[in-house]
C-alpha cells in the first residue's frame, strides 16, 4: 500500500487504527513515566 493512499475504507481503518494502537501504547507508558515523575518526591504513606 502506498503511504497516504487508501483504496478502500478497510485500508484507511487498518492504517489509522494501527497508528492509534501504537499511540495507545505510548500513552500507557507515558502515563506511568509521568506519574512516577509527578510523585517521585512524595513521602510514602505508612499503612501500618
Amino acid at each position: 500500500m502506498d503511504t497516504g493512499t487508501f483504496h478502500t475504507l478497510h485500508d484507511f481503518m487498518v492504517h489509522s487504527k494501527g497508528i492509534v494502537y501504537i499511540i495507545m501504547g505510548v500513552i500507557l507508558a507515558g502515563s506511568l513515566i509521568f506519574w512516577r515523575f509527578l510523585t517521585a518526591r512524595e513521602k510514602p504513606i505508612r499503612k501500618y
Partner: protein, 428 residues
C-alpha cells in the same frame, strides 16, 4: 478538631465596618447608611464596565443584534457564545470537580474549597444564562424550549435542560451559606442534609452538558477544521472542563488569599496549600491525559498532513503551548511543592481553555471562508463580554464579603465537624 475552630471574635464586627470617630477618636461601627455607601463603592474600572455594559444592554434590546454585533448568516455565533457560554461553562466546572472530590471521593481536606468553588460555579452558570439572553433575545421566552416546545432531538435542548437543572442544583448547594447568613438554622440543616444527593446530581448533569457542548460541533464536520473536528469532541470538552475547573479553583483561591484574606478563618488558611497542591497534582495528570487523547483524535482521522499548514502550527501552539507545557508546569510545581509554578500553571491552563474554545467555535470554525467573510467581534460584543466578567467578580466579592463562604460560620463549626475534619492518609 479544636485547632480548626475559627476565632469567633473576628466575626462580631467586620474590620471594614469600623471607622474612627471624628470627635472621640475611638473606633466605632459604621451606621447602616455608611455601610450601604461602603457596599456601593466601586473601583473606577468596575464602574466604567457597569456603565458601558448598561449602555450595551440598552442598545442591544432597543436596536437589535445588528447594531451591537458583527454576526451574520455565516457567523451566527460570536464571542457571546464562544467566551460567555463555552468558556463560562468550562471555567465553572470547579463546582462539580471540588464537591465530587470532597463528598464522593472522600478528600475531606478539600472541604474549605467547596463553598468558594460552588459560589464561583453558581455565579458563572447564572451569568451564562444571563449572557445567553443577549444572544437569543426576548428574555421572557427563555423557559419556552424547556416547558413549551421541547426539541428532544437537539443537543442544544439537552444542554439547555442540563444547565437549567444544574443551575438549580448549584443554587441549592449554595443556599446553606445564605441561610447561615440569615440565621435560619432549621431550613439550613434540611438543605445541608441534601449535600451528597446534590453532588451526585451535579456530577451527572455536568458530565452530560460539558460533553454535549462539544457534541454540538459534531453537526458541522465541513465547517470545523479537521484538526479540531473529531468524533471525540465531547470527550475533549469534558476532560478539558475538568482541567479548567481544577485550575479555576486554584486561581480563585489565589485571588481570595490576596484580596480577601481577612475574611478567611484559620482552617481555610491552613488547608489552602493542601488544596492548591492536591488540585495541582490532579490537574497535571488530567491535563497530560488530555494532551495524549488529542493525538488519538489526530491519528484516528489520519489528519497528520494538516500539521504542516498554518492551522497545523496553531494547533501545535494550542496542544503543546497551552496543554503540554502547563501540565509540566503543574507537575514541577507539585513535585517541588512550589506555589509559584502551580499558580502560573493555573492561569496558563485557564488561558488554554479559552484558546481551545475560541479555536473550536471561531478560529477553526468556517476556516474555508474567505477572510472578508470571517467574523471579528464588534466593539459592543467585547464590552458585553467584559461586562459579564466584571459582574462575576463583583457578585463574588459582594457575596463572599457577607456570607460564610471563606470561613465556617461559628454557629455551625461543630455541626460540620464530620465533613470538615481533614483526612489523614490517602495521599493527595
Amino acid at each position: 478538631m479544636s485547632d480548626h475552630k475559627p476565632d469567633v471574635s473576628t466575626f462580631t464586627v467586620d474590620p471594614k465596618y469600623l471607622t474612627k470617630d471624628g470627635i472621640t477618636g475611638l473606633a466605632r461601627e459604621l451606621t447602616t447608611k455608611e455601610k450601604i455607601l461602603e457596599a456601593a463603592r466601586l473601583h473606577p474600572v468596575m464602574a466604567t464596565l457597569l456603565i458601558m455594559g448598561g449602555l450595551a444592554t440598552i442598545l442591544r434590546f432597543t436596536f437589535g443584534l445588528g447594531t451591537v454585533t458583527n454576526l451574520d448568516d455565516n457567523n451566527p455565533w460570536g464571542i457571546w457564545i464562544s467566551i460567555d457560554l463555552l468558556c463560562g461553562v468550562a471555567l465553572a466546572a470547579g463546582g462539580f470537580v471540588t464537591s465530587a472530590a470532597c463528598y464522593i471521593f472522600g478528600f475531606k481536606k478539600f472541604h474549605s474549597a467547596v463553598r468558594p468553588a460552588i459560589l464561583t460555579a453558581f455565579i458563572g452558570y447564572a451569568l451564562v444564562v444571563f449572557a445567553l439572553n443577549y444572544d437569543v433575545g426576548r428574555p421572557y421566552r427563555l423557559p419556552y424550549p424547556l416547558f413549551w416546545s421541547q426539541g428532544t432531538s437537539s443537543l442544544l435542548f439537552e444542554v439547555g435542560l442540563c444547565v437549567f437543572l444544574y443551575l438549580t442544583v448549584l443554587f441549592i448547594e449554595f443556599f446553606p451559606a445564605a441561610l447561615e447568613w440569615l440565621g435560619l438554622k432549621k431550613i439550613r440543616n434540611v438543605v445541608h442534609s441534601l449535600t451528597i444527593v446534590l453532588t451526585i446530581f451535579g456530577v451527572v448533569l455536568s458530565t452530560l452538558h460539558q460533553s454535549s457542548l462539544g457534541a454540538l460541533f459534531l453537526i458541522a464536520p465541513s465547517k470545523v477544521h479537521p484538526l479540531w473536528y473529531s468524533s471525540y469532541l465531547p470527550v475533549y470538552f469534558f476532560v478539558s472542563a475538568i482541567c479548567a475547573g481544577l485550575s479555576v479553583v486554584i486561581f480563585e483561591g489565589m485571588l481570595s488569599h490576596k484580596y480577601m484574606h481577612a475574611k478567611m478563618d484559620k482552617m481555610t488558611i491552613e488547608e489552602h496549600d493542601g488544596v492548591m497542591f492536591g488540585f495541582a497534582k490532579a490537574a497535571a495528570f488530567v491535563l497530560m491525559g488530555y494532551f495524549f487523547i488529542k493525538w488519538v483524535g489526530v491519528a484516528a482521522d489520519n489528519n497528520w498532513h494538516y500539521l504542516g499548514t498554518g492551522y497545523g502550527a496553531w494547533f501545535l501552539v494550542e496542544v503543546i503551548g497551552f496543554v503540554f507545557l502547563p501540565a509540566v508546569c503543574y507537575a514541577i510545581g507539585y513535585r517541588e511543592q512550589n506555589p509559584t509554578f502551580v499558580k502560573v500553571a493555573a492561569v496558563w491552563t485557564i488561558l488554554g481553555i479559552v484558546v481551545n474554545r475560541l479555536n473550536v467555535s471561531q478560529i477553526a470554525f468556517n476556516w474555508q471562508l474567505p477572510s472578508d467573510l470571517r467574523y471579528f467581534p464588534h466593539f459592543w460584543e467585547i464590552v458585553v463580554t467584559a461586562f459579564i466578567i466584571g459582574l462575576h467578580v463583583l457578585l463574588f466579592r459582594l457575596i463572599a464579603n457577607r456570607m460564610p463562604i471563606l470561613y465556617t460560620h461559628p454557629d455551625y463549626a461543630d455541626h460540620d465537624e464530620d465533613v470538615a475534619e481533614p483526612a489523614h492518609g490517602g495521599g493527595h
